[in-house]
Structure formats: structure tokens, C-alpha cells
């Protein structure tokens, strides 16, 4: 057993290393760093069908992640999905005629929202609504349409 002073230093170093490892796991391995606080502003968009879009899915412009999906609710009056996006405060200039589309990353990847900026001079502010949206592609619907067309052709 080492002397008390050395003991204290060694135990201190051990505990620091342990907490550092926890910190590393929280910040680098998990999604905590991407979700810190509720900063950023919110935009809303209505979709006819969100497919398998999940809360915390990325929101991208030109492939760059600018925010995350914060909530997905069902609008009972319009029978549409109401998706709340949280946009990073760095990205303030999103034109009001931006189109929000739900795409799939890769063949089996998960779904994300892609924003295609329009040409308007007016930018969206906190709580703004993205008017133009494009729903998720549902594979079964596509196959159904394809078969229907084939049948029509004869």
C-alpha cells in the first residue's frame, strides 16, 4: 500500500480517468453533443405521409446537416403529419418558399428531410411553416402504381 499522498493522487487520477471516459462516451459516442440544449429555431412542415421518418432524423440542405427533426405529430383537422424541425441557429437564411422533402439515405438507410431553398428574399423565422412539401416515397405504393400502369398497357 503506497503512502497516503501517493494514494490520494492515484485514486484521483483513476476517478478523473473514469469520468473522462464517461464524458468521452457521452460526447463522442452518443448523440448528446448534437442535442445539447434547445437552442436553434423551429420550423414546421405538413406532410401527407412521413413514411418511417423518426424523431432526431437529420435535416439537410444540399446534403449538409443543418438541424434535426424535433417532433412528429398528427394534425387531426387536416389528416396530415405535422413535423417540427429544429434548425441550428447558425443557419438563419432559409427562404420562405423552401421545399421540404423526405428522402431515404441509401437503399436501406433511414429517412431524412432535405430542404431545397427557393428564391424568395424573405427568410423564415422561428415558428415558420414550410408550405411546400414532398412526402416520403412508400415502396408498396410505387410498386402498386407500376403494376397498375403495366396492366393498363395490356
Amino acid at each position: 500500500m503506497p503512502r497516503l499522498r501517493t494514494l490520494e493522487i492515484l485514486v484521483g487520477a483513476f476517478m478523473a480517468a473514469g469520468f473522462l471516459a464517461l464524458f468521452f462516451l457521452a460526447m463522442e459516442v452518443s448523440n448528446l453533443s448534437a442535442d445539447v440544449g434547445g437552442d436553434g429555431y423551429r420550423l414546421q412542415a405538413r406532410f401527407e405521409n412521413v413514411g418511417s421518418l423518426k424523431v432526431r432524423a437529420p435535416v439537410t440542405i444540399a446534403g449538409v446537416r443543418v438541424g434535426r427533426v424535433e417532433a412528429i405529430d398528427f394534425d387531426q383537422k387536416r389528416f396530415e403529419a405535422l413535423v417540427t424541425l429544429r434548425i441550428d441557429p447558425r443557419y438563419q437564411q432559409i427562404p420562405e418558399d423552401t421545399i421540404a422533402s423526405i428522402f431515404t439515405a441509401g437503399l436501406l438507410g433511414e429517412q431524412y428531410i432535405s430542404l431545397s431553398p427557393g428564391g424568395s428574399e424573405v427568410n423564415l423565422v422561428d415558428g415558420g411553416l414550410l408550405e411546400q412539401t414532398q412526402s416520403a416515397l412508400v415502396l408498396e405504393q410505387m410498386i402498386g402504381q407500376f403494376l397498375f400502369k403495366k396492366a393498363e398497357e395490356g
Binding site: M1, L10, V11, M15, A21, E28
Partner: protein, 259 residues
């Protein structure tokens, strides 16, 4: 016939009595926590014994477990063209399962057995009775600091194990197998949830720390005070800790992730 029935009954009563003694000891240990707060130095020495001295084996095993996970995971994932998900696989299996469980098994073998042998020998050489003669409660003075030392050390060791394992997985996956570095980390951060994965892993290792040190202390305190008795108690500590950890892991996993 009657004799075998009596033997079965004796066995059952014996097991029940042991479980009862174990819980009484746990109560006595927890009852000493107030006096431990007055003498934190005792705890320091036990964190050194259980935690600091286990760091080497934990770090080395964590590194190798992470590297092997990465190698094996890459073999399977690359067959589905999903090698980019390697980071998720390595981190999820380490943080959720292997970190807490393997750390608990290693600590049971390295520190738990030492605790049992130490306390068993203290009992065999009548040091515990000696303390009692001096009006010092041996449970409060000897067992309580060891219990809390194990409880504090286990989650820290498990976090070290997982963190080093992720680094090992990164080294093999990105460095040797050529998985894209950005995909490795970004997919990991997308899929690993702080509350769901990391906090649940810490809760698991707290439970394991509690159970492993409890079993080790009870076996030592309950050992037959002979050299043979102490050796048997040490063996029982490792076997029972391993069984308890694996069994509890199933229950905890079912409660935390089983939906």
C-alpha cells in the same frame, strides 16, 4: 427415502439461512455508511485496491475486445455492404453489454476474490474478533469501505472499458480495415442515445458493482475459518458473482431494452 427427504430439507434450509445471513450482513454494511462518511480515508484505500489496481487489466481487455469486435463485425457487415455501420455495432455492444458485463466478470476475478480471501483470512486469524474486543465494529470498519469502494469503482471501470474498446474498434476498423472515418463516428453518434444506451450501461454496472462486492464480502465474512474454508469461499465468490452478473444482465436487459 426419509433420509434423502431430510437431506433435501437440510439443503434448502441451509441455502435459505445463507441468503438471510447475506441480507443481514448487507443491512449492517449499509448501516455503517454514516460512520464511513466521517472517515473517507478508508474509502480511498479501497478505491485504490479495487479500482486503481484493476485499471490495467480493464484497459488491456477493453482494447482487445474492441479490436476483435471490429474485426468480426466488419466481416459480417461488409457482406451486406454496411461496413459503415461498424462504429454503431462496436459502440452499442460495448456500451450496452460488454462494457458492464465483462468489467464485472474481470473485477469479480481480480478484486472480488481478493476481498473474499482477505476477509476470510482476517476471520481465520481472528483479526475480526480482535477488532470487536477493541470495541471497533468490524463490519463498519472493514466491510463498509470495501463495499462502497467496489460500488464507486465499477461504473468508472466499465466506462473506461467501453471508451478504450471504442478506440480499439476505431483503430482496427478505420486504421486497418479502411472503413470511412466520418461514417464510423457520425453513424455512431446518430444511433447511440445518451439516455437509452450510456445511462443504462452505467446503471447496469452500478448494479453489478453492488452485487459483486456484496457476494465477495459475504463469502469472506461467512467463510469457514480454515485455510480450506477460505479457499472454497474464494472459489464460490468468483462462481456466484459470474452467475449473478450474467443472470442479472439478462433481467436488466429485458427491462431496459426489451420492447
Amino acid at each position: 427415502m426419509l433420509e434423502s427427504l431430510a437431506r433435501l430439507g437440510r439443503l434448502g434450509l441451509h441455502a435459505l439461512a445463507r441468503i438471510g445471513r447475506g441480507h443481514l450482513l448487507l443491512l449492517a454494511i449499509l448501516g455503517g455508511s454514516a460512520s464511513l462518511a466521517a472517515r473517507p480515508r478508508l474509502l480511498l484505500a479501497q478505491i485504490y485496491n479495487i479500482g486503481v489496481l484493476s485499471v490495467l487489466i480493464i484497459v488491456v481487455s477493453g482494447l482487445f475486445v474492441g479490436m476483435v469486435l471490429s474485426l468480426q463485425g466488419h466481416y459480417v457487415l461488409s457482406q451486406f455492404g454496411a461496413a459503415e455501420s461498424l462504429g454503431v455495432m462496436v459502440a452499442a455492444s460495448l456500451v450496452r453489454e460488454l462494457g458492464p458485463v465483462v468489467t464485472a466478470l474481470l473485477v469479480a476475478g481480480r478484486a472480488g476474490s481478493a476481498l473474499t480471501a482477505e476477509i476470510g483470512l482476517m476471520k481465520a486469524t481472528e483479526q475480526l474478533s480482535g477488532l470487536e474486543m477493541m470495541a471497533v465494529d468490524p463490519v463498519k470498519r472493514i466491510l463498509t469501505p470495501r463495499f462502497f469502494g467496489g460500488l464507486v469503482s465499477m461504473p468508472l471501470l466499465a466506462a473506461l472499458f467501453s471508451a478504450v474498446g471504442v478506440m480499439g474498434g476505431w483503430f482496427v476498423g478505420v486504421g486497418l480495415l479502411g472503413v470511412d472515418e466520418g461514417a464510423f463516428w457520425s453513424q455512431m453518434q446518430n444511433k447511440i442515445d445518451f439516455r437509452e444506451d450510456i445511462v443504462n450501461g452505467v446503471i447496469k454496472s452500478l448494479v453489478f458493482g453492488w452485487v459483486v462486492t456484496w457476494i465477495a464480502l459475504f463469502e469472506g465474512h461467512d467463510a469457514t475459518p480454515t485455510s480450506e474454508g477460505v479457499s472454497r469461499a474464494t472459489t464460490r465468490t468468483v462462481v456466484h458473482s459470474a452467475l449473478a452478473v450474467l443472470g442479472l444482465d439478462f433481467v436488466l436487459t429485458a427491462l431496459m431494452f426489451g420492447d
